[in-house]
């Protein structure tokens, strides 16, 4: 029977014994792909689910694709999911996730693999060479110590030039006879191998170690570079020539065509101020303008967005979003012109990419380090001794020295390597988590650009999960509305209309319940908001992290390109489930996708429970409860649709508030009750798990003495 959308096999790498094995995908079919597939594989392959440091030899790292990878699903074909126990989180490094884009996931499927299970630890550095079904574990001693870019170049070189150099293609056929077999697609490709690798930050097992693919596709959060470093795994290279079977190609192309015709900003009449996600004008995503307009877009495979770029100047290539701004505030201290600012800033992006260092830690962490230095706490001979040249802060030379030290556990990097909040405690700076000088709000991770005290689904979703959720589903409400206020322009959608359109798509828990989006003071701890957070957790676990629809383009709730201003999400013509069904032939409803997400989310929670999770540890850093952002400090307002005292919807400024710790505890109880978890512990119950077809998970929790009590 054809597994539409799947390659049909999972690659099991036993690094300890340097053995390669094959696992059938069919057993895991019900988990979809990506996170669901990876969590199920972790459950089966990780023998000790109580470990709380990803560098433990028992940890299992999963690289998982989706059925959509390699297909023309718009902004849904190029992402890849990474799972396993993380590194450097606080107080516990959870079973967690990360993801990256580019070409790796599609190439892996073309090679015939849906996922990779990485188990054990090699006795010396290795890299894995995948050429279709042929998989070799090779010596990486010559690669160890090299940066991520040099590693990829060295691997390509070691693989030799493609056969038939004059034609520029790889011939992966084992024999001439095989090459003539039309069913094997001739085994040839003009593509270069897709390589995922670690740099020095991962080799030295620092919490900032990330995985990097090509120039700038990184999996940063979770410290998976350190996980690979602990396993002596330097890189995985894959090149494949196979095909991906699709259940209904006509339906797939029809839905893509509808997306283009109905939802996407028309290229002949572009609306640069459209309120949409899938329908926005394709454009690169820099945090600061690059030093040149001479660039071309670069996208993950199959994507219509092109959020990255390659520049004529030769630096900053393929970096996007946060890494293009990690050093920006520092550069302003020294730059004398916009050009200089842009150049240092983008060259600093290259630095973190080459070291395989997660730049997101600097989102708030760099301000903290500067604060410590400027207050005379950090520096040569200071309470926190550092011989880094802090007087050069803001220069490219300092950025390189800082990243080198942090990637090699040198200087302050020796303490930061095991987690930044851990370092704060070691340095006696826990007060900084109270005052807000150190804004690491949840699980030892920096606050994102969305204030958890204002934008509740982000903050609540992160602390009720395992990491900074980094799911941009709802916050274009804030950015669109706030920008309109900033320009003093008329609203394209009034508050009541906006929440009505969104709520129409929040099936099943919150369908046509606009009150779930009311983040006003009177409603911020309500069951309404708990239902929204549930929907968000379940939606993202399936559609975003398992089906691997891109976070930057999905969901599309409202869309001012369409006559009724309703977006593509959950629609019958180009909704997420429409694409899923066209590829897999599953025939699920949108709501059944959400239900799949609920099952995956609950397996995650079961693993966290085995790791030692309890509701008592589910709380934000103290500053979230104690220190309001002063009104208008970073922007004049934080607009969101809320109901006023008369029940009328208005755009309301949510800037400048704190969370009430006791009321948030009550919110947790509500959330746990709705999820069917034990409200005293947050642990899943047997009834819940059995209902999700996870009775064996309930057995494991019971055996560990961590099965939740049944509710009334």
């Amino acid at each position: 029977m054809t597994l539409y959308g799947y390659a049909g096999k999972i690659l099991h790498l036993d690094l300890t014994n340097r053995r390669v094995a094959e696992v059938g995908t069919e057993k895991y079919r019900s988990w979809g792909g990506g996170h669901g597939l990876g969590a199920a594989l972790f459950w089966d392959f990780c023998r000790d689910k109580t470990i709380t440091d990803g560098r433990h030899p028992a940890n299992v790292c999963i690289i998982a694709t989706s059925p959509l990878n390699g297909t023309p699903v718009p902004s849904g074909g190029g992402r890849c999911e990474v799972l396993g126990v993380g590194v450097g989180m606080y107080p516990i490094s959870w079973f967690t996730r990360s993801g990256f884009g580019g070409r790796f996931s599609t190439m892996l499927k073309h090679a015939g693999w849906d996922a990779i299970v990485i188990e054990g630890k090699a006795s010396s550095p290795v890299w894995v060479d995948i050429r279709n079904e042929q998989v070799e574990i090779r010596d990486a001693s010559g690669l160890w110590g090299q940066d991520t870019w040099a590693t990829q170049l060295a691997i390509r070189e070691s693989m030799g030039a493609p056969n038939g150099v004059e034609n520029g293609w790889w011939d992966l056929n084992a024999s001439a006879a095989e090459a003539l077999d039309p069913a094997r697609d001739q085994g040839r490709t003009t593509q270069k191998p897709a390589i995922l690798t670690i740099g020095p930050a991962g080799e030295n097992q620092t919490a900032a170690g990330s995985l990097l693919h090509d120039a700038g596709n990184g999996a940063g959060q979770g410290g998976f570079g350190a996980v690979w470093g602990s396993k002596n795994l330097k890189a995985i290279s894959v090149i494949g020539t196979g095909e991906i079977p699709v259940a209904d190609a006509k339906a797939l192309l029809r839905a893509r065509h509808v997306t283009q015709q109905k939802y996407v900003t028309p290229i002949t009449q572009p609306d640069f101020a459209a309120w949409s996600k899938i329908g926005n004008v394709p454009s690169p995503l820099f945090m600061n303008p690059p030093p040149t307009d001479q660039r071309r877009p670069q996208a993950c495979q199959g994507c219509i967005a092109g959020c990255r770029a390659r520049f004529a100047v030769g630096y900053g290539n393929e970096s996007t979003c946060q890494e293009t701004a990690w050093y920006l505030p520092a550069v302003r201290r020294v730059a004398k012109s916009a050009k200089e600012l842009a150049e240092i800033n983008l060259r600093a992006a290259d630095v973190v990419q080459k070291y395989g260092h997660n730049s997101f830690l600097f989102q708030t962490g760099l301000h903290w380090l500067e604060h410590l230095h400027e207050e005379g706490i950090l520096g040569p001979g200071k309470a926190i001794h550092s011989e880094l040249p802090w007087e050069e802060y803001g220069t490219l030379e300092f950025a390189e020295k800082l990243i080198h030290a942090l990637s090699h556990r040198q200087d302050i990097g020796a303490d930061l390597a095991d987690g930044w909040v851990q370092a704060a405690y070691k340095w006696g700076r826990e007060e900084d988590l109270r005052t807000g000088h150190m804004q690491f709000s949840y699980w030892g991770m920096p606050e994102h650009g969305y204030d958890p005290r204002a934008e509740l689904e982000w903050g609540y979703g992160s602390i009720l999960g395992d990491r900074d959720c980094n799911e941009h589903c709802f916050n274009i409400i804030f950015t669109n509305v706030t920008a309109a206020f900033a320009f003093a322009k008329p609203m394209r959608l009034e508050a009541q209309e906006l929440v009505g359109i969104i709520a129409g798509k929040l099936s099943p828990y919150a369908k046509d319940r606009p009150e779930v989006l009311d983040f006003g003071d009177a409603n911020m701890y309500s069951e309404d908001v708990a239902q929204l957070v549930r929907w968000h957790r379940h939606y993202t676990r399936f559609y975003k992290q398992s089906a691997l629809f891109c976070d930057l383009r999905w969901p599309d709730f409202y869309n001012t390109n369409t006559p009724d201003q309703r977006g593509a999400t959950a629609s019958d013509d180009a909704g997420e489930h429409v694409f899923w069904n066209a590829v897999t032939g599953d025939g699920i409803t949108f709501e059944e996708g959400i239900e799949r997400g609920r099952r995956i989310w609950n397996l995650d929670n079961a693993i966290w429970t085995l790791q030692g999770r309890h509701r008592d540890m589910v709380h934000f850093a103290p500053y979230i409860y104690e220190t309001p952002f002063e009104k208008g400090e970073l922007f004049p307002f934080y607009m969101w649709p809320c109901r006023d005292e008369d029940g009328l919807w208005r755009y309301t400024d949510l800037m400048g508030r704190t969370l009430d710790k006791q009321k948030f505890e009550e919110f947790k109880t509500t959330f746990y009750r709705l999820e069917g978890w034990d409200v005293e512990s947050g642990w899943p119950t047997r009834t819940l798990l059995a209902g999700l077809g996870l009775a064996e998970v309930a057995d494991a929790l019971e055996k560990a003495g961590r099965l939740g009590k049944e509710g009334p």
């Binding site: 979003c321 920006l328 301000h367 804004q439 900033a486 970073l634």
Partner: protein
């Protein structure tokens, strides 16, 4: 007389280009969809110019009312502070005010560099 035409002596120019101590930094943000609000701070008018520089996909974030007081008291440039107050009051929107202040500060910093020859 306004911020552009106000005479600039060497001492004023030095203050405009000097970097203030950390304790006197001024918080600024930047609204960058889809990342959200990026936080940072500035410690000189030169940094303010770079922070306010117009960019097609993001907006500078700062408290305009407090900005004038900071420029007057901490930086020590009453003429620029008065200019900031004037353009803030005259602007039809927050973004319009930011753009006007950017031009004012850009000119002010350029004048200071001419005076100091840096």
């Amino acid at each position: 007389m306004n911020a552009t035409t106000a005479p600039m002596d060497a001492e004023t120019a030095r203050r405009i280009l000097a970097r203030l101590p950390h304790a006197q930094r001024f918080p600024v943000g930047r609204l960058v969809p889809p990342v959200g609000l990026l936080q940072s701070s500035i410690r000189s008018l030169g940094e303010l110019e770079l922070a306010l520089r117009p960019e097609p996909r993001s907006l500078a974030g700062l408290n305009l009312q407090r900005l004038a007081a900071w420029i007057e008291t901490d930086v020590g440039d009453p003429a620029a502070a008065a200019g900031v107050r004037d353009v803030t009051e005259a602007s039809g929107s927050y973004v319009e005010a930011c753009r006007a202040i950017y031009e004012l500060i850009r000119d002010r910093v350029a004048a200071a560099r001419r005076v100091t020859g840096t």
